[in-house]
Amino acid sequence: MTTNKIGLLGCTALFGALLAIGSPARANDELLKLEKDPNQWVMPTGNYANQRYSTLNQITAANAGKLHPVWTFSTGVLRGHEGGPLVIGDTMYVHTPFPNNVFALDLNDNGKVLWKYEPRQDPNVIPVMCCDTVNRGVAYGDNKIILNQADAKVVALDAKTGKELWSVQNGDAAKGETMTAAPMIVKDKVIVGISGGEFGVQGRLTAYNLKDGSLAWKAYSVGPDKELLIDPVKTTSMGKPIGENSSVSTWQGDQWKTGGGSTWGWYSYDPALNLIYYGTGNPSTWNPVQRPGDNKWSMTIFARDADTGVAKWVFQMTPHDEWDYDGVNEMILADIDVKGKPTKALVHFDRNGFEYTLNRETGELLLAEKYDPAVNWASKIDMTTGRPEVVAQFSTQHNGEDKNSRNICPAALGSKDEQPAAFSPKTGLFYVPTNHVCMDYEPFKVSYTAGQPYVGATLAMFPPKGDNNLGNFIAYDAGQGKIIWSDPEPFSVWSGALATAGDIVAYGTLEGYLKIVDAKSGKELYKFKTPSGIIGNINTYTHGGKQYLAVYSGVGGWAGIGMAAGLSKDNDGLGAVGAYKSLSNYTQLGGVMTVFGLE
């Protein structure tokens, strides 16, 4: 691994000061520096801003047609492969779904395995994971690789040897708590979430000290003020203080204890504001009639101080959720013009089908527009209150328990799920992998038992009326709230996107295609069918001076549930044209990483 001596000298003043305080802030300087190096892919999100953009431009719109697979690596695991590999110097770190093996591969020696970490986990964790046994990646910092295991254990490994340095238990699988999200290292802390919104967990974001895994702070999404890490006066929502008991006052009795608000998505960080941004998941259960109230702070965007965890501002997108529109999708930080004004923006493509643009410093809501025209559960977002104007016909609360609410768009898996979008500062556009699926949703009463599913609704999914495609890959202007171009796909686009300065955008399809399109027009430039459906994220790096793209193939995730046997209805109504599609006609299970290059 290359040591960056010039960089260290440049940061000596800050580093010296921090040394005097006695805190090992090396990860702070190191990661802020590393995230700017396009030759490496140092964190799952590409950079702290979650832009998934690379300044590398060897691969361009002009030559992308010449791309081809260069080498491959089989992970040895079958199940959904989310996330992507890290590249730190000349070492690539590959992770797998359960059992969450981690490999360090030597790029100088044809991907030879330098070390392998194979956790021993109780397989009884598997059925407590709602939506396949995925894992979204490992984090790197201070010569450590941090892994979030399915069994809710956070483990720190020596990046050079794979030796376990420390581990800490972050949750209890017997209560339905597991982990699927990637950790994020901020300064001297490891930020981790928790999964289990379908099992009635009490969601939270937790920070452990990178040095030894001791607890730094824990911030719950639902519950009493003390547990939320908020200040009733200083923490604001829509510009106003949230006040006391902002969460518990929106739940009946003790329901917040099994309230959900899990944190299984992506996290971003603004070093200048020192704020961590993330969203919370659905309230438990899926039956809204059983949990009256706004159910704060589920479905909420949080901005928290990285050192203390205290929330600076919050914004709830879907109060009293009736459709399972988890708010956990990535919070992309981008300095863009919003309605003509230069803005420190946070751009979020929510499950609920609305794209929200906020001022990431103040939490002011600037724009909220549908990013799929099929979205129908709300007509719009009221810009003065931030609340959706729910259409009664599509309200499962309004229609009630044991009644089938029909043709709601989007389906519970949202107009976009966790698969992260990319932002290109060059074009100013966001490149978004979307789902184009609607649902019937029927709530019914259920009881809570620790470790058992706490769902309370059943659903049927199908494409919107008159449409055949289940997904679109779109280019979107978040300053105006407009779709610029849209490439239809037969299936939901479930991969993370990548944008580069070479004017290309990359994404993967559920049939297994790695596709490259022109960043300005969306025109397809290259495609290759990899061994299995892609639900991972495309990353890019250089080695030996050449640019490569790397992506996992391995169908699964929630896409594997809904799509494997095809959807419930052929809603096209056009007879011969509307094929009843089954993903299993196109792909089977797999677990392979493919690296693409030009040479």
Partner: protein, 142 residues
């Protein structure tokens, strides 16, 4: 661990639902489907399936990338084998597989409605019921 308790519940479940097994032996299907519409038991089976089984076995029992297509499985499994698997769970951990079905023996919302869930899946497996939410006999929802 649940398996001991599950065995006890399973025995109780077998006793209380044994008449279903007898019904199958007499060639009477364990479900009621008339003109494409179902009775409350099959409908309840669809709901309970959606609550506890769909997240792995996919919509309508049709399977996912990591759990079998039950419309196919029930062509081989009788009620006893079905109930045994649901109550006690199953592991398939060889050859790259990491598939674990939990034991539902202590999950009330499943084990109390085993007949209904079986009836719904059997109706699907026998091609007597199509995909999607079933329509109920007597409902005005054409």
């Amino acid at each position: 661990m649940p398996s001991r308790i599950a065995a006890a519940v399973f025995s109780a479940a077998l006793v209380s639902v044994s008449f279903i097994g007898i019904a199958s032996a007499q060639d009477e299907p364990p479900y009621v489907v008339q003109n494409g519409r179902v009775d409350q038991a099959v409908y309840n089976g669809y709901r309970r399936y959606g609550e506890a089984c769909m997240r792995c076995h996919g919509p309508d029992g049709a399977g996912s990338s990591y759990a079998p297509d039950l419309t196919s499985s029930l062509k081989r499994l009788d009620f006893e084998a079905f109930a045994n698997t649901v109550v006690n769970g199953r592991k398939n951990l060889k050859n790259g597989n990491e598939n674990v079905m939990p034991a539902f023996g202590t999950t009330e919302d499943v084990v109390l409605y085993l007949n209904d869930i079986y009836g719904y899946l059997k109706a699907r497996s026998d091609d007597q019921l199509g995909r999607g939410r079933p329509k109920r006999i007597g409902d005005d929802d054409s």
